[in-house]
Amino acid sequence: MTPLLRVARLRKAFGELRAVDDLSLELLPGQFACLIGPNGAGKTTLVNLLTGRLAPDEGRIEFEGRDITGLAAHARVRLGLARSFQINSVFPQLTVVDNLAIPVLARLGRSGAMLSRIDRVPELEREVGRLLAEWHLEAERARPAAALSHGTQRLLEIAIAAAARPRLLLLDEPTAGLSPLEKSQVLAQLRRVAGTGETTFVLVEHDMDIVFRLADRIIVMHRGRVLADGTPDEIRANPAVRDAYLGGTVAGPTAERPGSAPPGAPLLTVERLNTFYGQSHVIQDLSLTVRRGEVVALLGRNGAGKTTTLRSVMGLTPPRSGQVLLGRRSLKGLSPHEIAQTGVGYVPEDRRIFRDLAVRDNLLIAARAVGQRTDGDAGHGWDLARVYALFPDLATLERLRGDQLSGGQQKMLAIGRALMGNPQLLLLDEPSEGLAPAVVRALAGVVERIRTEGVTILLAEQNAAFATLLADRAYIIENGRIRLEASGASLRAHPEALQRYIAVEGTPEAG
């Protein structure tokens, strides 16, 4: 069989960093391949090179026997090589229907028609209707993409890529941030499309559950090279992969964790919080307490109100009513920068690092921006050296620009940046999302260390396995209300108690 895709000696460097290093690869038609590897291994860079978002420094890419190395991205899509993006890249102000109409028109060769009415283009309505049904978007058809929840936007993101009916579809972390229900919808649909044999898949994925369930071939990348390539069984048995990626022994939940001091007085008190987005009442009478020295988890599905709660505390989405106290001081009516100066650090889900600044400058600017703490506390004396000690990767990458980092490295940087502001309370929004299993475990260690250094932590998560590993206490949030409060120990002992509310699965398989 002639290969669908053939990659020969591909190289791409960003300054000193060799993101893709002399990589060669072949894909046969009909394969379902998963591309895995630690954060920063070069997976997204490879996808960018294959789809024409980046030009390689060296090497050759052939698609169906044709050299496409120098071909523009749109021309590659026309040949049948499509992709989705790691960070949602939809058309925010356009409706779901219009979002899908654009790639469908392109495929039908009608995107340039100026004088025919959009609703009279043959095939368009049927094709868009088919996509809406397949990707469970029918109910949202007339809403602008920006109004959709993250999970639904994710479905749309993949549907836009699939609309091109490609011969080869590259999906960059398609299930990142999806609820278990949405995940299973996506997987079922991917399986169905794969079953027709028309499309060959390459998935960049961190969820080992999904990888080992779907893939008939797994390609493991490490430092820009292919570390291993084979069937799931071969990969599972490969010792090099275990070391580099799947991680050694699991630092399983332990009842007694070192360094957990007895909790102190309440540091953050939220009382009867009500927050609205326009007409919709997103947070309803929410109350919670975080005591000094605690790690508290806010667990819930996509759209449950986790992010909005954190944003309300931070003053980014000011609540309509209710009380937010840091110690005895009310944060109500303060602007986000004033709240930061009282010693609250915030790491948003989408990281928001400065893309044009070097890693080092990203960190230094945060220290300056927060400046003098107004609460009289000197904080915990975080500086570059301490952040680098916590994240050795950042020290080696310190001269790279923010946008040259991988998704996982950006996450580290965002946490490091928040620490540079010397917070007494750190708000972490979905810290484990999109991270490789080994990195998730490393992150758990990092959070634990941050806590032992005196920082109190409130984290929003839908990965219950990760959150309960760390948390002293957890609140379960659903539809903007707290449904349950439980100690971390009891959740670790009875994970099934969470089943109703969130994902209990998703624990990385350690092999």
């Binding site: 749109h74 219009d98 409060e485």
Partner: protein, 354 residues
């Protein structure tokens, strides 16, 4: 006319707030009324209305690129001026209005192809700066190239030529009422073309370019080529507006190419609502009227204009049309919101453990 906003091209085409035939009837009545104006208006009023129509064309051409395509050009006076001068040359050489207009459009479109070729590969501020630079280049050419353009004086004595050709049967256009009707017909044709264009596949792709150009490329569409087509169309429509100026005022001056002229469609679009279809029409009318009224009392009409703009940007986001449409939606939604809010509260919500 219903402000299309940025929502739902496909949905809007299928079911709009007004039934299709009703909307067509309303638009037809409006055009008919415009054509009947000369029966009861003096020539000053006709001049004013013609100016509004010309700025409408200019602003709608500009806004095709800005409000719908997401590209802010600060150099559209170049195309306006190219249309105006070319039509002026033609009319002075051979008095045929149609020939003048067609020649002017071709010149503006050709200039748009050149400027667009270099500009559309850039985004945001770089695109705006490049178009501004090209606009200034054209201005200095027009201003300094005395032998051809008449320099500071511009072209004078441009005739309000007959529609087709001089002599009997050429349809004379000299009376201001007749010329006004010609301007209205041209404007209506262009507006109708744009209405259809924005509901075509190309129109939806154009909006896609505004929202996320990279994703358009990854949908399999050559994004730059589409931008260039939009740019040329936009320049050509600005050129049409330009061709209509000379015959109205009998003269075309270098100020048509000045960057202050480039600012006029920007202001008209923002004033009326750049993300709506009819915004530039309303904005153009307001701009011409405010200027006219204020100029009678004071020479500081820009001051008044500035105040109006500041008030609009602070008070009515989305311009007059966009702002009113949003207000209308909110009042309508407000009626049903009361019941909807109650629905979201579950009946027996479980309390939480302390």
């Amino acid at each position: 006319m219903r402000g299309d906003g940025s929502l739902a091209t496909v949905e809007a085409a299928r079911a709009s707030a007004w039934p299709r035939h009703l909307r067509a009837a309303a638009a037809g009545a409006f055009v008919l009324a415009l054509l009947l104006v000369p029966l009861g208006a003096n020539s000053f009023e006709l001049f004013l209305l013609a100016r509004i129509a010309i700025l409408t064309l200019f602003a709608m051409g500009f806004n095709l690129l800005f409000g719908h395509g997401g590209l802010l050009s600060f150099g559209h006076a170049a195309f306006y001026s190219a249309g105006a001068y070319t039509a002026g040359f033609i009319l002075k050489a051979y008095p045929s209005l149609l020939l003048g207009v067609l020649g002017g459009v071709a010149a503006a479109g050709a200039l748009g192809l050149v400027v667009g070729f270099f500009s559309v590969r850039h985004h945001d501020i770089y695109f705006a700066m490049l178009t501004l630079a090209f606009g200034m280049l054209v201005y200095s050419l027009v201003w300094k190239w005395d032998a051809v353009t008449g320099g500071d004086n511009g072209l004078i004595g441009i005739p309000r030529a007959p529609l087709l050709y001089p002599g009997p049967g050429g349809i004379p256009m000299a009376p201001v009422g007749r010329y006004y009707e010609f301007v209205v017909v041209v404007t209506v044709l262009v507006v109708a073309f744009l209405w259809r264009l924005l509901r075509s596949p190309f129109g939806i792709v154009l909006r896609g370019l505004r929202e996320n150009a990279e994703r358009v490329e990854f949908a399999g569409i050559p994004m730059r080529r589409y931008r260039l087509v939009a740019f040329v169309l936009s320049a050509a429509i600005a050129g049409i507006a330009g061709t209509l100026v000379g015959p109205l005022e009998n003269t075309v001056g270098p100020e048509t190419a000045h960057w202050a002229t480039s600012a006029e469609p920007v202001l008209a679009s923002l004033l009326g609502g750049a993300s709506t279809f009819s915004g530039p029409i309303v904005g153009a009318a307001l701009l011409v009227l405010i200027k006219e009224i204020v100029e009678r009392h004071t020479q500081y009409w820009l001051l008044a204009m500035g105040i109006v703009l500041v008030a609009l940007v602070l008070g009515l986001r989305g311009g007059v049309v966009g702002g009113l449409a949003a207000l209308w939606r909110r009042t309508r939604a407000g009626v049903s919101a009361g019941t909807a809010a109650q629905d979201t509260v579950p009946a027996g919500s479980p309390g939480r453990s302390p």
